[in-house]
């Protein structure tokens, strides 16, 4: 069989294919409604649902819930008749599969292991994702776009969230499922997995780019300066920018919210930055300390 067909029809991967279709469908539907409402807003008209009337719960709502429940049940039943859940060989601690993959919804995090050490990729970043998600309602002080689809009224929050959700979460999952083979190396879905393949890429650390040993004191200091400059610069620069261009927004936001927002944002952006550093510039670590490396 064509390896591509083979990989997407593996029983557990069918879920990912279904996810890709469902997510794409609802993404289009959401943005389509958002742009629709944006046009209404621009024309000064009420948005969808603004002049909603009330209807009885019994039966219109109960009926539609029943229909949805039936459709879902039928769909899952067909899926369960058509595809059998796999059962692999009995667990064997002495036989490590290569690659050993986490469950699919954690593959985005496993993918981060390429770019960050485990304490960051597996512990700190996931915790910050949860904290960051919970923080969203408290740091998004834009009162508009409450209770209806819109893009124009909350561009930045939607762009940032969508980047996190579609690229950093879902795309990385898809990569982990379909494009990662033995040794966590990149394989196109139509490529045969080769267990003997080794890829030698001459990774270096940031300071060695300028000829300083990253494990020397000078390298340590350089790394600290670069990391610190990113964090501190990332915290200060937006402040200066808003102070100059939109001081009112800054006052409304307040210090605590400002620090939280910007900290979460630069942490999130450190992920694509480290990806570029590694993939384009072959840089592994920015800063090496005796206790941890970043």
């Amino acid at each position: 069989m064509n390896p591509f067909i083979e990989i997407i029809t593996q029983p557990d991967n069918i879920a990912i294919v279904i996810m890709i279709f469902m997510v794409s469908f609802f993404m289009v539907w959401a943005f389509q409604q958002a742009f629709h409402n944006d046009r209404l807003l621009a024309a000064g008209l009420p948005v969808d649902g603004e002049n909603d009337k009330f209807v009885d719960t019994f039966k219109p709502l109960v009926r539609i819930e029943l229909i949805i429940a039936l459709v879902v049940m039928v769909g899952l039943t067909i899926w369960s008749i058509a595809v059998d859940a796999p059962l692999e060989e009995i667990a064997n601690p002495t036989l490590t599969p290569n690659p050993a993959k986490a469950p699919w919804y954690f593959l985005g995090l496993q993918e981060l292991l390429v770019y960050f050490d485990p304490w960051l990729a597996g512990v700190v970043l996931p915790s910050l994702i949860v904290v960051g998600l919970i923080a969203i309602p408290y740091i998004d002080i834009n009162p508009k776009g409450n209770g209806y689809y819109t893009f124009a009224e909350r561009k930045w929050s939607i762009i940032i969230f969508s980047f996190g959700f579609f690229v950093l979460w879902l795309l990385l999952i898809v990569i982990g499922v379909f494009f990662r083979g033995p040794g966590w190396l990149w394989y196109w879905p139509w490529q045969e997995w080769d267990h003997a393949r080794v890829v030698f890429e001459p990774f270096r650390d940031l300071s060695s780019v300028v000829g300083i040993d990253s494990r020397s004191l000078a390298g340590f200091i350089l790394g600290a300066v670069v990391t610190g400059a990113y964090m501190i610069g990332g915290m200060v620069w937006p402040y200066m920018y808003w102070k100059k261009n939109n001081p009112e927004f800054l006052t409304q936001l307040g210090m605590v919210r400002y620090i939280t927002t910007v900290f979460l944002f630069i942490t999130m952006m450190s992920i694509p930055i480290k990806m570029v550093l590694r993939l384009v510039f072959l840089i592994k670590y920015v800063w090496i300390t005796p206790w941890f490396s970043i």
Partner: protein, 257 residues
């Protein structure tokens, strides 16, 4: 021969019928309302809802679909528990038995497995919907937070279920996953600064998760109990908090400008 309406009428006068349904339904405003708040399940809903609640376009029914998937998983999960022993000697063969011995065992297991994948997918889409309609904004900030915890619990429910068949897939997925625990700063033996707390493989986070230094019988028992009892308990309670708050925050959000 009696006609159908006559039979219906007679049934409705029957003492048993009356004891269950308490009153007749006549499709009046009062009876439609009574149908909702007189029923323990339906009274999750208000008596009347805004049109967009029945139009799908706004919520896509995604929260409801997530809840439905959860109920399906509880039902199939409870039935699976009748056939399963959480011990490394029996777990794997129990699953094999489902395949070859238990009537409808295969479809039971499939429903549970695909239902779990499905729930993870739809809960993420539900979160996306809530974000896109800005429904986390005041007064719903807290309920968004409850939702995020539910999202994490959904992942953990699925994750803990992975190990239960005791096959290679689950074993190594859990090994990879819990190895992350070993990397926890301060509290994992491979994590930064853990040497200051004298953390070893035998007293760190990973040890606590697995009940040992390796994935073994204790880990299987632990994940089973997290999967079947501990997490569902918390998730169920939080779901009711979630639904309660949807009501108390004014129902499904409507445009506020």
């Amino acid at each position: 021969m009696k006609s159908l309406p006559e039979i219906t009428n007679q049934v409705k006068k029957n003492l048993i019928w009356k004891s269950i349904f308490r009153r007749d339904y006549r499709n009046t405003v009062r009876d439609r309302a009574q149908a909702v708040f007189g029923n323990v399940f339906l009274h999750l809903h208000p008596v009347q809802v805004r049109e967009s609640a029945v139009k799908l376009r706004f919520t896509w029914g995604m929260g409801g679909i997530t809840f439905f998937a959860y109920l399906l998983l509880i039902i199939t999960g409870v039935v699976l528990m009748f056939y399963y022993h959480p011990s490394i000697d029996q777990a794997y063969t129990d699953i094999k038995d489902l395949e070859f011995q238990v009537p409808f065992g295969v479809i039971l297991r499939n429903l549970h497995r695909w239902g779990a994948h499905f729930m993870v997918i739809v809960v993420m889409i539900h979160m996306f919907r809530v974000f896109m309609t800005g429904s986390y904004k005041a007064p719903r900030q807290f309920n968004w937070g409850v939702g995020v915890i539910l999202l994490v619990l959904t992942f953990l429910l699925s994750f803990t279920g992975y190990l239960t068949p005791w096959d290679q897939l689950g074993f190594w997925a859990i090994t990879v996953g819990t190895n992350m625990g070993a990397a926890t700063p301060l509290l994992g033996y491979q994590g930064p600064f853990s040497e200051f707390l004298h953390i070893t493989p035998f007293n760190d986070v990973r040890f606590a998760l697995l009940g040992g230094a390796l994935v073994g019988g204790n880990a299987l028992l632990r994940s089973y109990i997290w999967h079947c009892i501990a997490i569902p308990l918390v998730a169920t309670i939080l779901m009711f908090v979630h639904f309660w708050r949807v009501r108390k925050d004014g129902g499904i959000s409507k445009p506020q400008k």
